[in-house]
Subunit: 436 residues, 2 copies
């Protein structure tokens, strides 16, 4: 008998019929002889509705940390109700199928978090509570996205919180597997809306998944992937409405056959490039710039310091470029402009409407030539590269946003040629038919 | 400095603007120098929506008490979320006005109940928790309608549960007053929709309020009135949207000037009369009938055992009549019919579409003639009386449902003549004008 944690997102439980379907999947898993813990998100758009109401009545943030914290506490108590509703309904639906089930909210499930409203981290889980119910033969349904702090206040875990709850529970319970049911059929080589030929991956390594999540693939939240990696709990990303499909298993790199150079291609179309140009080649400027960004709570993504070039007097001048999200661009530009006198730079330049296209794959370790293949593919498609950044298992290129889809399509043809074979033959068939 | 408990129903917090208004009333009460505890119901139709979802997924009740209890537990957890939402929102809205506030759910507020889903009774309240927050200068907002049992399961208190929560908190905290804010301006002499001249009462005794509640006045749930009576906490029934109106104070009879013979006239249009006729005048039949009703979970209201009459052989035969709600009439009739052979009765008769009209007033104690005035008023209006039942402070008459409104109007003219003076003069003015 194995222990399975199943997680269902909001679209999987959006109405009573869908809740019934999810109950059936949980019951089927129990029928296979497993102990079953189900983690569930709020139904459909519930959280959006609660956010809207809460924001309307929320006091403006002030310099009074106590007041901000008090409001954060109420806001968390508000948002946490969404998962309580779906947990109770799913428990009822499982009981309706004739199985014993119990619903536990974050407090009842013993999910202890730090005392930080809106984005608390899980500190510990009292597994005795859940094991006790499992050992009584119950399917245990647990609210995602929430916990309780040391003072009994309800906390929420921030974005991707239900995934985090599921994986943290799977880790604490030493589950054999954590199945993340969602509205896609697994992890794809790239976004199928951009490349219809994208292939579902059977396996992907945690670190590849992490890199893909960071560069724009939204299937799993990075925090939950990292938690699974540390506890070595296999994650399965699969479809709620095509449960017969095996999905994609996310596992340790060590357990994988590295038969691919590239595992996935991701794209983030929300990039703005800022550059501080013409400052003296003295140490410390980068530290000042990114220290100021951190103080302003602005996340910086790609960073490139350009080669020094001499000014008319022969003094060496540097350029420093980096990217931020479009939402934070105005703030970031203001921070840079305020630094101009301090660092003695000539100016600040901004280039908007950029996209970061990335290839990710543990298989690129020790395999040279992949970067060259990527740049060549972009050049063939006549797409300019505005910036390049690399990590051990990732290469990212900043390109004009308008070229981003073509870039992803071209890269997919190069790195997943097997997915495009039919297309080629289809094309040649068409060609044959029209007489080429 | 006094301690005030304020309770707001669902229609008082139906949207963000109304929540803001309620927050203002709570803040105003604090500005008057009081410590303030606010008890709040779920917003508008939230509970109805949750009930609908829950009923859809609820397993059918079975003979398995453990399974029924498990479903009841989840159903309670579901319904309790409605009050958690309004509590968090009201706390935020009070904070938005610049006041310190904290929201507590039933578990956080230390409201211990028995372990009985859907209609648990409050066993104890850990007042230290609330006093601690009050003494820190906070307005404390508490979810109505819910508590927690000894095992940490969320329970709900059944119909009128938020009133019960408010009054139980007021009693436990030894509050100086419990203000029940609602969508009416107080307790009226009768239903103003039936008698536009109905007058708002300044005061009413707990026991009068209890009798009125039992006979169809829906302002306060009997359980909350009884709790207030036992703890001697004055209740004030007042309007959320006309807070300048003093409302009606519900207090102990001892503290009242009994200047009225009748305090209120109530009407319940949901009565069906059942009669078991022609059974032998032997002891025990009534016990069998009402024992069987109790076993069938059917509430019996008015009961009349008719004078014995002889059958053709000279044997004394009895009739037993009683009323039940229209919803339970079919079940009750079936129970009676099953009893026919056992008790040797001749038959079962049913009369539907009846109404119970009641006059209530502690002032009728030791004042003879009130019953006669009531029957005379009904006779004047040519309304037949099908049954009569009396208590120390109440007289109820069963009349045809179609006559019920006229009965209430006629009784109001007799017992509250001052309310109809203008009407009379208005009528005479009209008469003058048209030349009579």
């Amino acid at each position: 008998m194995a222990l399975r944690v199943l997680k269902f997102g909001g679209s999987s439980v959006a109405d009573a019929d869908k809740v019934r379907h999810v109950a059936r999947l949980a019951a089927n898993t129990a029928d296979e002889g497993h102990q079953v813990v189900v983690v569930v998100s709020a139904m459909g758009k519930t959280t959006n509705h609660l956010v809207e109401l809460g924001q309307t009545l929320m006091p403006a943030a002030t310099n009074d940390a106590t007041a901000n914290r008090a409001s954060g506490r109420e806001y968390d108590a508000l948002l946490a109700t969404g998962e309580m509703v779906s947990t109770a309904l799913l428990s009822l639906a499982i009981q309706q199928l004739g199985y014993a089930a119990i619903g536990l909210n974050g407090q009842q499930a013993g999910i202890q978090t730090e005392s930080l409203p809106n984005r608390a981290r899980i500190l510990a889980i009292d597994t005795d509570i859940i094991f006790n119910h499992l050992n009584q033969g119950k399917i245990v349904v647990v609210t995602g996205f929430q916990g309780v702090d040391g003072d009994g206040n309800i906390t929420t875990l921030g974005r991707g919180g239900s995934d985090t709850s599921a994986v943290a529970l799977a880790a604490a319970l030493q589950a054999d597997r954590c199945d993340i049911y969602t509205d896609v059929q697994g992890v794809y080589s790239t976004d199928p809306r951009v490349v219809p030929e994208a292939i579902r991956l059977n396996q992907i390594a945690y670190i590849e998944m992490l890199e893909l999540a960071r560069v724009g693939a939204k299937v799993l939240h990075p925090r939950s992937v990292e938690t699974a990696r540390q506890a070595d709990v296999p994650l399965v990303v699969r479809s709620t409405f095509h449960p017969e499909d095996p999905g994609t298993m996310v596992i340790a790199l060590d357990n994988m056959a590295l038969d691919r150079r590239v595992t996935g291609i991701a794209c983030d179309k929300n990039q703005v490039r800022l550059a501080l140009v013409g400052f003296s080649d003295e140490p410390g400027v980068a530290g000042q710039v990114f220290g100021a960004m951190a103080n302003g709570n602005i996340s910086v993504d790609m960073i490139v310091q350009a080669v020094s070039h001499p000014d008319p007097n022969g003094k060496l001048l540097n350029d420093l470029a980096f990217t931020v999200t479009a939402q934070e661009a105005a703030d970031a530009k203001r921070v840079l402009e305020n630094l101009l006198p301090t660092v003695g730079a000539r100016g600040v330049f901004e280039e908007a409407d950029l996209a970061k296209v990335s290839i990710v794959g543990a298989g690129m370790i020790d395999r040279p030539g992949i970067a060259a293949d990527m740049f060549q593919a972009l050049a063939t498609a006549n797409i300019p590269i505005r910036m390049i950044a690399t990590s051990e298992i990732k290469i990212s290129c900043l390109v004009p946003k308008n070229d981003a889809d073509r870039a992803v399509q071209g890269l997919h043809r190069v790195f997943f040629p097997e997915a495009h074979e039919n297309e080629a033959s289809a094309a040649s068939m068409v060609n044959e038919k029209i007489g080429y």
